[in-house]
């Protein structure tokens, strides 16, 4: 059950069948029950006490440069690494999947009256002891301003999913805000926790252009660290905000160092120039060696991303389910994992991470079985031609596969796939492109035959995958989501619609369980494995907690300290 902080210590495996009330105690339950694979690594060493005053600094290396500092504009994971230090959301999701209040005094639930029974009215009580970095008190006006800014047509907001449903925002008191939802939408709890940082009204209401102002490059937040300096192309320094409303910060400053080459990044970790290898972490081929380094700790933890082969379901041979199944049976997944990824990731059959409350156990397990694949294709009428490639009705079983050019491991994976599929009479050709090319119209408008890609399917940490698998979300057919697979299923649409309106965790789990079975059966994607990240930190640095609910594991640097 939830305690007074809104924590709810359950995991997917240990979870009973919660009722609707419990669901709201979890928030919308979107992320509830994640039992983090990396939770065993909750502390890097034997815990000691954090210092009374911030002490020392942490140098975190990133392989991409953070450049977007307005937390409501389009940004990538490294940008979010900065946002988590400078800004605060209303609540966040901890490594165990609990919603934990941050700027909010408590997480809104049915029990505490924060949410109405129909899920349409939200009443949020806020902390009254929070101050912006410039000393101005934080109030409900800031929350109202932030949501209205997102919906401002002139503002380049990252996404309005969920926010566009918010109507009639009322500031009841400086520490309380109410709003009405146009329609019940349970994933909104997770969207507010994962992507929605509150920005200062008193600064941004004065700017003439909401898309460009001094704030964009010297942000003011309520987070544990205040803006220090940025040397473009080199580093960003944040300094401890001693008036922070939560625990910490315990280090005087954090420095995000941009090191674009992963080999060089690892070398600087070896030589001690950096304390933590952040996003992208340590390359798999260095992990074993890294574990032997003195004075360094290496953590391998699962991420929400699922590496898979994305078939274009409108492309000739792939319209035939037998072909997709045969291709799936023909992949020697374990060989790929062992040979290319040093056995670090785990096989999966679902788009949902295995640690999530919504993960469906007992999905059919993949087995490498080329004989069965051949039999399946024979039975489906795909006949081998003189070249050994099968064809049916004049259509050859040949296709291209694309991925980001220069992604060495994926390029090697393609070579293994060519061999595997050649054995069942399918011809695959490589057609790789630079990132900016492949993920442009080629991907968005489904111009590919097949692609190797890693995708985090979760909306925040909610399993609502309407934009990924909904029939109305196919950009190539005028849809508004990112269903680039062009997957269409009336049953999936029904389940997706149902899941987004449900507020009972057990019901949602059943709904999304059915959906996972359906997607697995239809083989809308050919999952390879759940991705992982290997990160290194210097011995003595405490407080590092991988969090599968976050897009970056440096989310809690406020709790880091030197022993």
């Amino acid at each position: 059950m939830a305690d007074d902080t809104g924590r709810f210590g359950v995991g997917a495996v240990h979870l009973g069948v919660p009722n609707r009330r419990q669901f709201f105690q979890l928030g919308a339950g979107a992320a509830a029950g994640w039992s983090l694979a990396g939770s065993a690594f909750a502390q890097t060493e034997r815990p000691t006490s954090p210092p009374d005053k911030p002490r020392g600094q942490v140098i975190a290396a990133l392989s991409q440069e953070p450049t977007v500092f307005h937390p409501l504009m389009p940004g990538i994971e490294v940008d979010q690494g900065i946002w988590w230090q400078v800004f605060s959301p209303l609540w966040y999701i901890d490594p165990d999947g609990n919603f934990v209040p941050d700027l909010a005094r408590e997480v809104p639930t049915l029990e505490n009256g924060g949410l109405s029974a129909d899920g349409l009215t939200w009443k949020i009580k806020l902390r009254s002891d929070v101050k912006w970095h410039d000393g101005t008190p934080f109030t409900a006006e800031d929350v109202k301003f932030s949501i209205e800014l997102i919906n401002n047509p002139g503002f380049r907001a990252r996404s309005r999913v969920g926010h566009s449903l918010v109507k009639d925002i009322t500031v009841v008191a400086p520490d309380e805000i109410h709003w009405r939802m146009e329609a019940p939408y349970s994933p909104y709890m997770s969207i507010l926790a994962s992507f929605t940082f509150i920005v200062p009204k008193h600064i941004l209401e004065k700017v003439s252009d909401p898309n460009a102002s001094p704030f964009h490059n010297a942000p003011v937040g309520t987070g544990p660290f205040r803006w220090g300096e940025r040397v473009p192309g080199d580093h960003i320094q944040l300094n401890a905000h001693t008036g922070y409303h939560g625990k910490g910060p315990y280090v005087e400053r954090v420095v995000f160092k941009y090191i674009p080459d992963l080999t060089v990044l690892y070398t600087q970790f070896r030589t001690g120039q950096v304390d933590y290898t952040g996003l992208a972490g340590i390359l798999p081929n260095f992990v074993q060696e890294a574990k032997t380094l003195k004075g360094r700790k290496i953590f391998v933890s699962s991420t929400s991303s699922v590496e898979h082969i994305a078939p274009n379901l409108d492309f000739g041979p792939f319209t035939d389910r037998a072909v997709r199944e045969a291709l799936y049976l023909g992949i020697n997944k374990q060989a790929i994992i062992d040979a290319l990824y040093y056995g670090l990731p785990t096989q999966t059959e679902s788009f949902v991470p295995q640690q999530a409350w919504s993960f469906q156990q007992g999905l059919p397990q993949h087995k490498y079985d080329p004989a069965k694949a051949n039999a399946l294709l024979d039975a489906a009428g795909w006949v081998r031609g003189s070249s050994g490639i099968r064809e049916k009705g004049g259509v050859k079983l040949e296709f291209t596969n694309s991925t980001t050019a220069g992604s060495a491991v994926r390029e090697q994976c393609q070579q293994l796939l060519i061999q595997d599929w050649r054995a069942i009479g399918a011809a695959m050709r490589v057609n790789n492109m630079p990132a900016a090319v492949i993920w442009g119209d080629f991907w968005q408008q489904s111009k590919f035959n097949s692609v190797i890609v890693g995708v985090n399917f979760m909306l925040g940490s909610d399993p609502d995958v309407t934009p990924r698998f909904g029939s109305g979300a196919i950009p190539a057919k005028g849809g508004r989501g990112y269903n680039t697979y062009q997957y269409q299923s009336a049953e999936a649409d029904r389940l997706l619609s149902q899941g987004a309106k449900q507020f009972d965790l057990a019901q949602r789990k059943a709904t999304y369980g059915e959906l996972q079975k359906l997607i697995r059966n239809d083989l809308a994607i050919l999952p390879l494995f759940q991705s992982f990240i290997a990160e290194g930190i210097k011995e003595g640095l405490q407080g590092f907690r991988p969090n599968i609910n976050m897009s970056i594991n440096s989310w809690n640097m406020r709790e880091w300290y030197w022993a």
């Binding site: 450049t67 994971e77 990252r158 964009h216 580093h235 160092k257 600087q268 979300a473």
Partner: protein, 316 residues
């Protein structure tokens, strides 16, 4: 001379316009765009992407976008980076110092060392030194900068611990000695190819000069050998080097692209690579125009200088 300079300037401006049009077209016609990075992350739906595309003005016809960009550029507004919203000129200037520091150091090393090797090689033709210098230059020209950079880091940083494995400075230090310490390895790597090139050019030039009649005449006049070499030989041998120096900028910038990535040096090379990767059109165009201008100025200065130092050359 004034007419010559005016003509060359007019040509340079025409060239810049052509470069800008071609560069703009190639950049924008290439598949993908600045929002591609968000397409796969799942945080922005197609609706979001379309909306931001409209807000950035990227849905307008290409000629309109070009004219808009060109018109603003003429007024001194080079646009704003799609990544951090900073003015392009400010983005370029914030990276330029680091690159100039690296390029200047590498050039000084290369010129001094290369000229010395070239002169000595020419004077002691086919000696052991000359043979070693020739072989060394061939090796240096053949070694990929990226590989040499990684080997340098491995030897001097990982194994010996003498030099830092990259970065321009230690965060929070920034002293001159700290800067110098960080500069050694990347400057050495960047200078390697340049030294070899300068050495080869200098050797050829010097060989040609020392076999000229006026050198023989100078010797016959009984001038001391050092005077013959410095006043009559070196001065003339350096003339072709002016052209080499004038065309150094693109070569050095090319080397900096790699060296700055390997040594995490926050300069123009890395900015260019990152901006290309993110399709940050305004910054890429800004760097393109800046580089083209520098190349044209370098070439123009070389021509003028050539005419100034060599009375036989007449321009106009």
């Amino acid at each position: 001379m004034a007419r010559y300079v005016a003509n060359r300037l007019a040509q340079a401006i025409m060239l810049l316009v052509i470069v800008s049009a071609i560069g703009f077209a190639i950049l924008h016609l290439a598949p993908g765009g600045p929002l591609s990075q968000f397409a796969v992350s799942g945080q922005m739906t197609q609706e979001d992407l379309d909306r931001v595309t409209r807000q950035l003005g990227l849905d307008r016809p290409l000629p309109i976008q070009y004219l808009d960009w060109f018109g603003r550029m003429l007024k001194g507004d080079w646009g704003k980076s799609y990544r951090d919203g900073e003015a392009v000129l400010s983005v370029i200037s914030s990276h330029l110092g680091a690159t100039l520091e690296l390029m200047a150091t590498a050039t000084i090393i290369a010129v001094l060392l290369g000229c010395w090797i070239g002169i000595l090689g020419a004077l002691r033709r086919y000696s052991v030194f000359d043979t070693l210098a020739t072989v060394g230059a061939m090796i240096a020209l053949s070694i990929p900068t990226f590989w040499f950079g990684l080997v340098t880091i491995y030897v001097f940083s990982v194994k010996l611990g003498w030099l830092p494995a990259g970065n321009r400075q230690t965060v929070g230090d920034g002293s001159f000695l700290d800067l110098l310490h960080h500069l050694i390895a990347p400057a050495m790597v960047l200078a390697l190819v340049e030294t070899a090139m300068w050495g080869r050019f200098m050797r050829s030039s010097m060989l040609e000069v020392i076999n000229q009649d006026y050198i023989r005449t100078a010797r016959a006049k009984g001038l001391p050998e050092w005077r013959i070499l410095t006043v009559h030989g070196l001065r003339n041998a350096l003339l072709p080097m002016i052209t080499v120096a004038g065309l150094q900028f693109p070569t050095l910038l090319g080397g900096a692209l790699v060296a700055e990535t390997v040594f995490t040096w926050p300069g123009m090379g890395r900015l260019f690579l990152d901006s290309i990767g993110y399709r940050d059109y305004p910054v890429v165009m800004g760097i393109l125009m800046f580089s083209a201008t520098m190349v044209l100025i370098g070439s123009l200065l070389a021509d003028i200088l050539y005419a100034v130092v060599d009375p036989r050359i007449r321009v106009g």
